[in-house]
């Protein structure tokens, strides 16, 4: 077996070529990581980390919270049902009212924000809800809390600011909240009563969120809400509801993956190019190695190893470059609701693993042809070559 040191030294000896290739690969790997991170983040940003016992109640036929409104009367009755988990403050269930309104960004452009009118229990229903700055809103005072992504981008959305939607609707921002990176982090939260008053939509709710006290109660509640003559509503298990919400992202996910794969191919050709020239300029060396008694297989593995090392260097550098990206998020539009959605890049273990696998594939496929060429050389003619 040819010592690995030989390959390391080779890369060092041709440091200019090595650096260029490594940088080229690094940039492409970083770009494809960003794409994958975005796809991961997109998935996450449309979901919520809820409890398996959570139900979302919508009007029958409606597919989303933003479209599924019904009567407050029914909603109030829902909250009194047996089987709902209760704690010291009453049932863990909340009526919520959603509004989508136009707000101005710092850049002078406009985006559609979801304003969710919430009740106190709404926070308990999102297990990761946390106030990270300022304080929580007080009901009835026209206050709101926003996630950091919105605070950063929209005018008047910092703590102490006044977030204005058109002429009539405005809320004082009193705090920043996070909710485990889920869909709530694309929404402005205000008090239910305030939203009702501002939008003139008292008498209806968009949805009711309920947590059942146990699996048996969960099934019973579902049946009662869907079949009971006084309701005739749809009770979606929260996990399944969010599954269908992220269906809309299927195309974006496919597009992101395609882009990442194309980037990988680009990088693969770059690696192959460098290896080809590495083999070509070392023809005589390879002949010498063979003459010394190294087998064809040794030579093949040696060159494959060198190619792997080259692409791993590039891939590693590319991954390092994306680490600061995981602190960033971008704001864009959800094609399903036309509302703004905040996507935090998630360069998690999964993305890193995929990037690593792609880098390895790049090294192996990029190095395979050049290595095969090195193996096929006839010892005598290789030695004769200038």
């Amino acid at each position: 077996m040819i010592p690995f040191k030989y390959n390391v030294r080779n890369l060092r000896a041709r440091w200019k070529t090595t650096t260029m290739t490594v940088l080229g690969i690094a940039l492409l790997v970083a770009s494809s990581c960003i794409m994958f991170g975005l796809v991961e983040g997109l998935e996450k940003s449309l979901k919520i980390s809820g409890d398996p016992l959570d139900l979302i109640v919508l009007r029958k036929g409606a597919t989303a919270e933003t479209t599924g409104g019904f009567d407050t009367g029914k909603a109030d009755e829902l909250l009194t049902l047996g089987g709902i988990l209760r704690d010291g403050e009453g049932p863990v269930a909340a009526k919520e009212l959603l509004n989508i309104a136009v707000a101005e960004r710092h850049s002078g452009t406009y985006g559609n924000l979801i304003i969710r009118g919430v009740q106190p229990a709404s926070r308990k229903l999102r297990s990761d809800f946390k106030i990270i700055a300022g304080r929580d809103l007080e009901p009835g005072k026209g206050e709101c809390i926003v996630p950091p992504g919105i605070a950063r981008v929209y005018k008047g959305a910092r703590i102490g600011g006044l977030l204005a939607f058109g002429e009539k609707e405005r809320y004082r921002v009193v705090g920043l909240f996070t909710a485990g990176g889920g869909s709530a982090e694309s929404e402005v939260w205000a008090d239910l009563k305030d939203v009702e008053r501002n939008t003139g939509r008292d008498g209806t709710v968009s949805c009711v969120q309920i947590r059942a006290s146990g699996p048996a109660e969960f099934d019973r509640l579902r049946e009662e809400i869907e079949q009971g003559a006084q309701f005739r509503l749809a009770a979606h298990p929260e996990s399944r509801y969010f599954e269908t919400q992220s269906d809309a992202a299927t195309f974006l996910k496919a597009a992101g993956t395609l882009i990442a794969v194309l980037l990988t191919f680009g990088a693969m050709f770059a690696a192959a190019n460098t290896m080809f020239s590495a083999v070509k300029s070392r023809t005589r060396e390879i002949g010498t190695l063979r003459a010394l008694g190294f087998s064809r297989r040794d030579v093949l593995f040696s060159f494959l190893g060198e190619s792997l090392l080259l692409s791993l260097l590039g891939g590693g550098l590319g991954l390092l470059a994306t680490i600061p990206m995981s602190l960033l998020s971008i704001e864009t539009m959800n094609m399903n609701t036309f509302a703004s959605v905040n996507i935090a890049f998630r360069i998690g273990p999964w993305v890193m693993a995929v990037a690593l696998v792609m880098t390895l594939a790049m090294g192996i496929f990029g190095g395979m042809l050049p290595a095969l060429r090195a193996v096929r050389l006839e010892v005598v003619s290789a030695l004769r070559e200038l």
Binding site: G69, N99, I114, I259, L262, F269, A270, N273, T332, M333
Partner: protein
């Protein structure tokens, strides 16, 4: 010109390397085309709408607000207005599946006057007008779902608590860069059903539709008599309704489309930065390939200079080769992607995310320009080195 053979031979003498360089540039440019065309095609369609002199009225508060239906007639009666139609987003389901094609409640009498680039044969238009449950559909949608004139098309309500049982009476024709996947139906048909539910109906409220209440035009498309009238009308409409419960925001169709693409927010910047990263990495890849090619030819270049080729000529020969190789890859990537998306319509496979997709000429040519630039920059260092190399050293060097 007489040196072209020499350059071509040089480019061909290491087919593996040249091929790989071309391939990596072609793939990267193909990618750039996909990324940039998404926004460019949208913008091109937007700018194209300028010629139709249309303005769009929406609630000042966004799509969640109401534009009362009575205003369509009021606006249509204003000076300088040719035609106006409501465009009420129904957002329903088809075959009980959430679908990504738009369904709009419109005024059958004026919609094809307002959208003058949309055409419908006279007999189909007459049939559409005559049937209150009538509908016309886009050609792409008809192909995709196998819809024919005379077919029934039941839609289930999602935003609204009412279902529509539509009958297809026509398939419209429209320019390529417009939405060819729409369903247009009578606004009255939807409105009457909502009215039947009554104002205090037990259902119907959503974030995009303040309540199941009837009488909402959604947005209003208004065609003005000429370009000069558009700005004045925008102002006039907004002034008219400023102090009502539902103030409006009126803008040209171009500005309205612009607003949509602005909603994409940070996505645009990200696409830009990824594009930049791809170009820079291409510089490394192509530059590397060119530098390797030159290193192999050190002796040859020394011979060229020894037999009297000037510095400038050597420089040019190397640069032209670099630009040629990169340009070939770029042409493959850019023109190839343009041809691909022109011949092959990807919109059915995007789940309605893209109503149309093509690579505008502007983008393809810009991409070609970028690849030539990449070739030039990648060739500069090797070319200067080759031109400046010492003849004696080069001849002595054993590669």
């Amino acid at each position: 010109m007489k040196y072209l053979t020499y350059i071509l031979r040089n480019a061909r003498r290491n087919p593996a390397r040249t091929g790989l360089t071309i391939a990596s540039i072609a793939i990267s440019m193909f990618l750039m085309m996909i990324l940039t065309s998404f926004f460019a095609a949208m913008q091109e369609a937007n700018s194209a709408s300028r010629q139709y002199n249309r303005i769009i009225v929406m609630n000042a508060n966004g799509f969640a607000g109401v534009v009362p239906i009575a205003r369509v007639r009021q606006i249509a009666a204003m000076d300088g207005v040719v035609a106006a139609t409501p465009f009420a987003w129904y957002g329903g389901k088809y075959q009980n599946q959430r679908v990504l094609f738009a369904q709009f409640g419109v005024d059958a009498d004026s919609v094809f006057d307002t959208l003058e680039e949309f055409h419908l044969p006279d007999d189909q238009l007459a049939a559409f007008k005559a049937d209150k449950a009538g509908a016309v559909v886009g050609p792409k949608l008809a192909r995709e779902y196998g819809l024919k004139i005379g077919d029934a098309m039941p839609l289930q309500g999602d935003v609204y608590p009412v279902d529509l049982k539509l009958n297809i009476h026509g398939i419209y024709e429209s320019p390529r860069n417009s939405d060819q996947r729409m369903v247009l139906f009578h606004h009255d048909y939807l409105d009457d059903q909502l009215r039947l539910l009554g104002p205090s109906s037990s259902s119907g409220s959503s974030a995009t539709q303040p309540s199941g209440r009837a009488g909402n035009a959604g947005i209003v498309f208004v065609r003005c008599k000429d370009a000069a009238a558009t700005a004045a009308l925008c102002k006039k409409v907004d002034d008219e309704y400023r102090s009502t419960d539902n103030p409006t925001r009126t803008q040209t169709e171009e500005a309205f489309g612009q607003m949509f693409s602005e909603m994409m927010g940070g996505m645009k910047d990200m696409v830009f930065w990824i594009g930049c990263a791809v170009v820079v990495s291409l510089l490394f890849v192509a530059g590397n390939a060119m530098a390797m090619a030159m290193r192999e030819r050190t002796m040859e270049i020394a011979v060229l200079k020894a037999i009297g080729f000037g510095k400038g000529l050597v420089l040019t020969l190397v640069l032209v080769e670099a630009v040629l190789v990169a340009g070939l890859g770029g042409a493959l990537g850019t023109l190839g992607s343009k041809a691909l998306f022109d011949l092959f319509d990807v919109s059915p496979y995007t789940g309605g995310f893209l109503p149309f997709f093509y690579v505008p000429w502007r983008v393809a040519l810009a991409g070609l320009g970028v690849s030539l630039f990449v070739g030039f920059v990648s060739g500069v260092v090797p070319a200067v080195m080759a031109a400046g190399s010492s003849v004696v050293d080069g001849l002595r060097k054993v590669v």
